[in-house]
């Protein structure tokens, strides 16, 4: 019945989608009614806290007796293994009647730490006398190698202009405002879990495993969650500890990390040192690139997107290595590996362009085959004021005043989904109410809202007439929200369920309307009418009233043709540098982003703002600091780990690239978080001739550069 499976309507015919809509859970979020895992309260609930190792590597000998003597402390357990491999690794957990008592209990634990050899920084880990941190191999290892080294070196020899630079990217933190954690309510047979998670169904599987239950006895809820950014997929040590405490005490356990725990043990974006040697010909062709990357992913391998990243460089070689240290393993974070790759290549491209006297926009266009980048670059250049800018082929002369500079950066992402893994259900009741149900979580991206919009479009209803039910593992299967796959995964299944419900509805209405089901259609305001006779119609309420207690309930899944894959994105930044002090302000940022068919303009633009703010913060401020001599963390708190606030925020222009006419839904969150800091670094160079090779771009680095150039 092809008439019932028509795909997305043409954009011009859409009444709901492809327009801006406020999020449906806005009122809950502005009144404090939205309940996050942190906010769950239950009779008899215990508050738990973790004891995190204050040393890079040690064996913990724990005496819980003093902790158990603290008023309000109910239980204390040791966590495996007792031998820690990273600074901040949890070794014990305490459960108590109040959060304060749990903290008292932690402090009271008598711990003897037997110190083991450690290496906290990559330099320490690569030193000759460094301890071997893993039994699986040396501290520094090759992750992958690609390209032709000999040909690359020969091409570099033949190039008219060559630049070699080393770029340093620090470890950054996710800083989810809601720390990681769960409330586990386990009665011995069933467990209800309130999780701050990006993956409802992954949590269910892991909790079932930890509690020794079949998955159908575990009920996971993520009604609201306070930010994940890639760090909240599994239950982690904290979830396993909460399960163990719940089993032992037969009382609900509320275990949310403290802010310090969050910094030390709940993930980070891996840092990197990247040495690039790039060569170009005098006609502006980027012909050769040799790259050596050292990823700094703590006790993990870290992430890296390989060079030459987006650019079409004929001959290249990349050697991608990682260095283990006694710090928490990196996790996925807002386009894993991409912001690091972006900073190195966008800086290199600019260094080549300015070095040869090219306009960096023109130089980019010459080295990008994909025309989408050409159009997006030109659009951003126009919006940011590049074409009126006086210094387009060299940096501005420095004379001690305020200098304006402009820079650019590009993104690339997949954004496709797995619609076949999603089952959504549309219900239509006799009173006209409509609901759409799927287990997916909403991280703040607006997925809850999206469900209502897609169904409203199908029936020509107002979005507020549709109720979305999400965030529960007892609902239809859904995907974890990583890789910006959510929109492209759930939208087709939701649409499919709505189409199925419409078809079932029309079949029920057919005898009354005296037409075949496929001769019925939706009219304005949800009226149902005959295709051949607009006067033969029922209002939505009239039509629904025939359903009685036998509501329409139809499931949908799959429909991969409704989603696409592959997005671009360009950003520009305009800065104003005080060439006497090195202080600067980002005055304006522009993002042009394609995303296939844009379903909700408002939440898409919010994502773009969020991506730009994230990279601005990353570029200007963020850096994990460790003390390599004492083996301690220096800024595991929000006082000393700086993130962007209201005063750093520039004018922001977020533009959906409507020249992308694909009638397919594609995720677009992550690409917007890739290139902003690269654009800022390039803008600082353009303003004052200071090339920053090390993030973050603090004013002292700009000032040192100004002094060196003077």
């Amino acid at each position: 019945m092809s008439t019932f499976k028509p795909g997305w309507k043409p954009r011009s015919e859409m009444g709901v989608l492809n327009k801006p809509h406020p999020r449906v859970d806005g009122p809950a979020k502005v009144t404090g009614k939205a309940r996050y895992a942190h906010d769950i309260r239950m009779p008899g609930m215990l508050y738990a806290r973790l004891l995190c190792c204050p040393h890079p590597s040690a064996v913990a000998k724990l005496d819980f007796a003093p902790a158990m003597a603290v008023e309000g402390v109910i239980d204390a357990i040791a966590l495996e293994p007792s031998e820690t491999r990273f600074l901040g690794q949890p070794v014990a957990a305490v459960a108590a009647e109040s959060p304060e008592a749990a903290e008292d209990g932690l402090r009271a634990i008598k711990v003897e730490w037997e110190h083991l050899d450690w290496a906290l920084t990559p330099e320490q880990a690569e030193a000759e006398d460094a301890p071997q941190l893993s039994t699986r191999g040396p501290n520094a290892r090759t992750a992958r190698e690609s390209g032709d080294l000999e040909a690359t070196r020969a091409a570099l020899e033949s190039a008219d202009f060559v630049v070699e630079s080393t770029y340093r990217i620090p470890v950054q933190h996710h800083v989810c405002l809601e720390t990681h954690g769960h409330v586990i309510d386990f009665d011995g047979e069933n467990a209800t879990v309130y999780a701050s998670s990006q993956a409802v169904f992954a949590v269910r599987a892991e909790v079932a495993d930890a509690l020794g239950l079949p998955v159908d006895k575990v009920h996971v809820r993520v009604d609201y969650m306070g930010g994940g950014f890639g760090s909240k997929f599994g239950i982690g040590v904290e979830g396993a500890a909460a399960c163990e405490l719940a089993k032992r005490n037969k009382r609900p356990i509320h275990l949310m990390l403290t802010r310090r725990d969050e910094f030390l043990m709940a993930g980070n974006r891996s840092g990197a040192k990247k040495t690039l040697k790039g060569g170009a010909t005098k006609d502006g062709k980027f012909i050769a690139l040799e790259t050596v990357t050292h990823r700094h992913g703590g006790f993990g391998a870290g992430s890296n997107s390989p060079q030459p990243y987006i650019y079409n460089v004929e001959t290249f070689h990349t050697l991608d290595r990682f260095v283990l240290t006694n710090t928490d393993a990196g996790r996925a974070m807002r386009a894993p590996g991409h912001p690091q790759a972006s900073f190195a290549i966008e800086s290199m491209v600019d260094e080549l362009a300015y070095g040869m006297g090219f306009d960096p926009v023109e130089f980019r266009i010459r080295n990008l085959e994909d025309p989408v980048y050409h159009r997006q670059l030109k659009r951003v250049a126009q919006e940011i004021g590049w074409y009126e800018h006086p210094n387009r082929t060299s940096s501005a002369p420095v004379n001690g005043g305020l200098n304006v500079g402009i820079g650019f950066g590009l993104s690339v992402w997949g954004g496709g989904g797995n619609p076949s893994r999603v089952r959504a259900t549309t219900r239509i009741e006799a009173d006209g109410s409509v609901s759409i149900t799927n287990g997916v979580q909403d991280l703040g991206t607006g997925s809850r809202t999206l469900l209502t919009l897609i169904v409203a479009e199908e029936f020509n209803l107002q979005p507020k007439q549709v109720t979305a039910r999400i965030g529960h593992s007892d609902m239809g299967a859904s995907v974890g929200s990583g890789g910006s796959v959510t929109t492209a995964s759930i939208s087709p299944a939701i649409k499919d369920s709505a189409e199925n419900a419409k078809r079932a509805f029309f079949e029920r209405l057919a005898p009354i309307m005296e037409r075949e089901a496929d001769q019925l259609m939706m009219g304005p305001g949800g009226e149902v009418r005959a295709v051949d006779d607009a006067t033969r119609k029922l209002s939505w309420r009239e039509a629904c009233s025939i359903l009685g207690a036998d509501a329409i309930e139809e499931t949908g899944s799959g429909r991969p043709e409704l989603a696409g894959n592959g997005v671009h994105g360009v950003q520009g930044a305009r800065v104003e540098v005080d060439t006497q002090t090195g202080r600067y302000r980002v005055k304006k940022m522009v993002c042009v982003q394609d995303c296939g068919l844009p379903l909700n303009h408002k939440t898409i633009k919010s994502q773009m703002n969020g991506g730009m703010v994230g990279t601005l913060s990353f570029g200007m401020l963020e850096e994990r600091l460790l003390d390599p001599w004492l083996g301690t963390a220096m800024n595991a708190d929000l006082e000393n780990y700086k993130v962007a606030h209201s005063m750093e925020i520039p004018e922001m222009v977020s533009i959906i690239d409507e020249d992308d006419t694909r009638q397919q839904v594609i995720g677009m969150a992550e690409p917007t978080g890739i290139p902003g800091h690269s654009a800022i670094a390039n803008a600082i160079y353009n303003a004052c001739g200071v090339r920053l090779h090390t993030m973050p771009f603090t004013p002292d680095k700009v000032l040192m550069g100004l002094l060196e150039n003077a």
């Binding site: 404090g32 939205a34 996050y36 405002l177 950014f229 929000l638």
Partner: protein
């Protein structure tokens, strides 16, 4: 961060005075209603002891009187989230160090970080939390503008921003963008909704100055 957010002089309880007052409570006097007064009296008498044990307080939150039992170290944030019944969990715990503003409440109309304000300091004050902004189902102009302008994503910072900006706009609905930015300079949003927050506050201020809300 204003002085009142640090629980300094502006809050009416000096640090010295608090320690003295603590002595009175520990001495067996029920510390209900006049903690600050007793603290000052104790200070005058030169009595120096520390407050300890459980203290019964009455907090005035969103117009309701709430009897709670706290410890001297219990923060106002913890009292709201863990001691008040039913728990007022709209006010969020994020940094617990006064760095991020997520726990902002209004104390006698002034924004304070409730994570670095002791519950005993809040006695006798009028506390307003995010739960007290709407009039029944009717959202305040600022809440409404937050929804319209999509000034939130995950929503975890939202209560803190709303309280900081309510404090600002109720005093000066015609606040400029610079004043709006400065009023929420102590609030962290990690999703990056700032541009929409500024736009929402500006539009709510305009509505409020036309008399469209309190």
């Amino acid at each position: 961060m204003s002085q009142s957010q640090n629980g300094g002089e502006a809050s009416g309880v000096t640090r010295r005075g608090f320690l003295k007052g603590a002595g009175v409570a520990a001495g067996g006097l029920a510390a209900t209603g006049t903690m600050a007064g007793e603290a000052l009296a104790a200070q005058a008498e030169g009595d120096v002891t520390r407050l300890s044990g459980k203290i019964k307080l009455e907090l005035r939150v969103n117009g309701d009187k709430q009897k709670v039992e706290v410890e001297p170290r219990t923060t106002l944030l913890s009292a709201l989230r863990h001691r008040v019944e039913p728990a007022l969990t709209g006010t969020k715990i994020v940094c617990d160090h006064g760095n991020c503003g997520a726990c902002t409440v209004l104390m006698d109309g002034e924004p304070v970080c409730s994570c670095i304000t002791l519950a005993v300091q809040a006695e006798g004050r009028e506390i307003r939390t995010v739960e007290g902004l709407a009039d029944g189902d009717r959202l305040s102009p600022l809440q409404e503008a937050f929804v319209e302008h999509d000034a939130m994503m995950c929503g975890f910072c939202t209560p803190g921003f709303l309280m900081s900006l309510t404090g600002c706009l109720e005093k000066n609905p015609q606040a400029s963008e610079t004043e709006i930015r400065s009023a929420c300079a102590g609030n962290t949003c990690r999703c990056g909704t700032y541009p929409n927050v500024f736009a929402a506050a500006k539009s709510a201020g305009e509505r409020m100055s036309k008399g469209g809300g309190k």
